[in-house]
Symmetry: D2
Subunit: 324 residues, 4 copies
């Protein structure tokens, strides 16, 4: 694969109307489901991570048609298990009826993913966790988290599921918080068709080294997808890829290569104050530059440096690839 | 003053509909301006920090009447300089027209504060800053930040203005980020009527010791108001006061006493998944317990311990006050 | 068990001479192995975590005798796999000879632990990790980390081993960094006699909730020992227990009770500028107060609150136990 | 100035024996004062930040001679106000005699600096602060911090003094913690000859943007010197410059250029496990690459982007300079 052949995909949310707790009137006008598809295509992406349900009145067939018209693939379907209904938890809600609803929405997402030829179903259980000490019984929370996703996964053994972990937000403590917390829980789930969506920024924010997390998920046969973005290491800022942490992004891309990941990379951006298309193009431009340089790393010298844990020698290899 | 006499005030936002970037349908139903006043009164608060403008159709006179009916004081008026209009900056916007609009809204807030007998006008310049390196010219940003608030303050020399600093959110880097950054900028503003609103949680998040920040603002004659809440030290979680950091809250309340602050304390809460009234009552209950214990600190022993920087002796004083 | 019956143990390092990279002449005079035992006993502790090797010239028999004279138990033996010899790694060193030496020192520690009737051997692999991106090959690092401790554990199937994880320091990235990273690696080690030493402060620093980490390790049958201390959540400050995070310490002690941990709790303190005995006594005094209050938690009300994830109701239970 | 003409200086500590609280036998053998000078010269540096006092038996004349022999400049003299003697504070010690000793050592450092033709005297008050809440009386601490350095500065109005701030370590809370905390205190000191040593890594760790801090100190006429290194934003890791945060380092170097700083940049490294000379050479190589690219930034386009706070346009300028 030449690096220029790398495709990029993105999330529908990047093109929609972003809102937060302060600008409660949103950072821009409302953008409908079909319009996000149009904008995504215009930005040059090849596929979309699709939040489901869609806008009221928009059917799966409408989305399918719009994707086709714009030559966009459905990367995955991400059921919205983090809105008002699930504000106190989806699979881990204290309310058994809501836990059931989360599972049902999971089933529905599987059907939608099939209809759209999406590669996998993504769970981002952003409300599964807690906010205060003493708020929950930890074994129960754990059981619900594992059983809930496990129930969906067992019902569809031929479907791939990817869990996207994040340390916090919107809950202060998320159950699926780090790569290893998630991998351990997935092992305990005892299913073969659940893995991780490794998000570079979430990994940085979780105080991990993203390249190490990626390598681990791959090594355990649990790597489902890869997302890229950037942040200041202490919050999920969702900045453009390659805007801050060039060396760690380069190392991440190096592992992407060495594990033989030929698929596209997905952008996870929240361009609050930027044009979404520009944010995508800036990210892709930066990633292409870095992929080109990852391809230039002298692997023999790098392996020799790593065999000795020789940080200075490794840096020389990196610097040479980056700058000459 | 007996500690039981301490009044508590709060922010209108605590009782309104909270929204974030995930639960874009909000954590609850829409709550109108006048209803937030009703809810605030029912929670037992004595006064409100009022975001301005109010809901469309709600006049200042309506708010005044509602406050009076519920025996609530207007603590301050906080112009909304952080919504969509000002998403890329208010006083520091790149657009001179928006900078002018921010100043005008400040003037308007002064008038509303006068109409409502509010003690001060609060600025929370949450969009004044930047997100990426290289995005702004720092001297220009600084000039605009200081000149903008300075212009409002100089236009109304008899009005008190309080700036509430926070390290980040919604911008990744806020100009008014820490107590000392803000005090230094206020000194450079060369006005007498601008000071700080010290928020316990913002101070923790800024890697400060809140008691030290409070002491400093008071010592410089720049303390305008005091807010309380809690968080995990790395984000503005706006948890109930006294839910996590009891020792630092106790120390904060100790300084509140020693500087002779007789006024109410303001709660800054975002009860995403909790009943707002309950969150207020829990906070007040915790603060009353802690104020009672702050009053029991053996000041002679404490002073002796502090004169020697003797942490162990100081802890004994604290433990005795807390637990016996 | 009445809470007053709880015993406390500590680490030899608390009583020794503390040094850091700035006060390279140490925070106090040199303290010999046998003197630390004397000081530990005088502080009221019941047992010691013993760093091995001891001072040159001090034999195991000497230590055994000193412990007996002072009625101190040997809690565990902690081989020093983090000094100059192992500065670039012990079990994960790039040098196979050093990896072998680490294993040999592990074997030696097992023998010393047997001689001293210590309950377990503790590994704190503080140099196993890396400092820079690109410095190491992650699969190799992982293999060495798991194989090394696994080799010692398999050689002594009847001996208990506890790994104490920490996010960073002295390496910038430690392999055994969090509870779940460590539990996952231990599962992959496929041995029954290796578990975790959960350190309250390390858990806070790893952005975990310590009570949740404790609950998880216990639930997986991997809890070997429990250490207590405190910090500002962003570094291993090793402050006295109960000095900052009272609520989370209370929750931790609550889980200590509910899992039926009858053994002593170990203090992990670095009293740089304080008298070690005083730091121990302050910690024990705070912990006794908090254990008394943990015993007062209304478990029925707490369970009801947790069954609903009702943070406000849970706080009321906590506040009542703490303050009335 | 061509970028290749930039000189680099360093700290004596980089070449000495590094020790920490775990590897108490040090990360290498003891290195004497004069040997550090030799090693510094061999690494290619042009000047040294000199910790004073020197090793017992080494006189100022010896150091002067060694520096001359190796064509090394004395950049500054840094009195050791953070060793065992001053472990509980230097200028802010609770003990008036120690406060006096700190001032006296400051006087002595002025004399040594004069003897060695050093440009300034650096204060790094790493023990001035506290560890626990309630440990100190904040106004007193503040008074001592300001009065102490102020006393030295007023005694030598023609000498330049630079304060190097850091958020924490070895104290958990340092008085001179951030750029603005320090600038505010210096303003209150009311002297003209005290400014800041801006350390890139300390600034990152303090949650600042280093370029903004540099710009501010310069703008206030308080910039004394500039240090470079890198870290993971949450501790003073003292990694090689340019190893992690390339974009922020580039922006820092851009401000170095635009403020017209022609002097050398000082490296602040702690190569625990690396050869000090290699760490210096790696840092210099990375900085030279980045300075070359800083010189290529299209200033017209950058100014246009910044005038609009246009992050995407600014990134394009940065990417172009970095990669083409």
């Amino acid at each position: 694969m030449t690096t220029s052949a790398r495709g990029y995909t993105g999330g529908m949310w990047t093109f929609g109307r972003i809102i937060d707790r302060y600008a409660t009137d949103g950072y821009g006008p409302v953008v409908g489901t079909l319009q996000t598809i149009e904008l995504a295509a215009a930005s040059g992406l090849q596929g979309l991570d699709l939040n489901y349900p869609f806008d009221p009145g928009v059917e799966v067939a409408d989305v399918k048609k719009a994707l086709a018209e714009h030559s966009l693939a459905a990367v995955c379907v991400t059921p919205v298990i983090y809105d008002r209904r699930f504000r106190s938890g989806s699979f881990t809600s204290a309310d058994p009826d809501l836990r059931r609803q989360a599972i049902e929405l999971g089933h529905e997402a599987v059907q939608v993913a099939a209809d759209l030829d999406a590669r996998y179903v993504k769970f981002w259980p952003g409300q599964d966790g807690y906010d205060y000490p003493f708020q929950t019984d930890y074994p129960t929370l754990r059981k619900h988290a594992i059983d809930g996703i496990g129930a969906v996964a067992r019902a569809f053994p031929d479907v791939t599921f990817g869990i996207e972990y994040k340390l916090k937000e919107p809950r202060n403590r998320l159950f699926w918080g780090t790569a290893t917390a998630s991998l351990l829980a997935i092992e305990q789930m005892k299913v073969d068709n659940v893995g991780l969506v490794i998000d570079f920024g979430h990994s940085l924010f979780a105080k991990e080294n993203p390249a190490e997390a990626l390598s681990l998920a791959h090594g355990m046969g649990r790597l489902v997808d890869i997302e890229v973005d950037d942040n200041y290491r202490e919050w999920d800022d969702d900045l453009t890829a390659g805007s801050l942490h060039l060396v760690e992004t380069l190392e991440f891309l190096h592992v992407v290569r060495t594990i033989g990941w030929d698929g596209p990379l997905k952008l996870d951006l929240f361009p609050y104050r930027e044009d979404a298309g520009e944010a995508v193009r800036e990210s892709v431009a930066a990633l292409r530059e870095l992929e080109t340089r990852a391809a230039k790393l002298d692997l023999e010298q790098l392996r020799a440096a790593q065999a000795n844990h020789d940080a200075m020698a490794a840096q020389k290899v990196v610097r040479t690839a980056l700058f000459s």
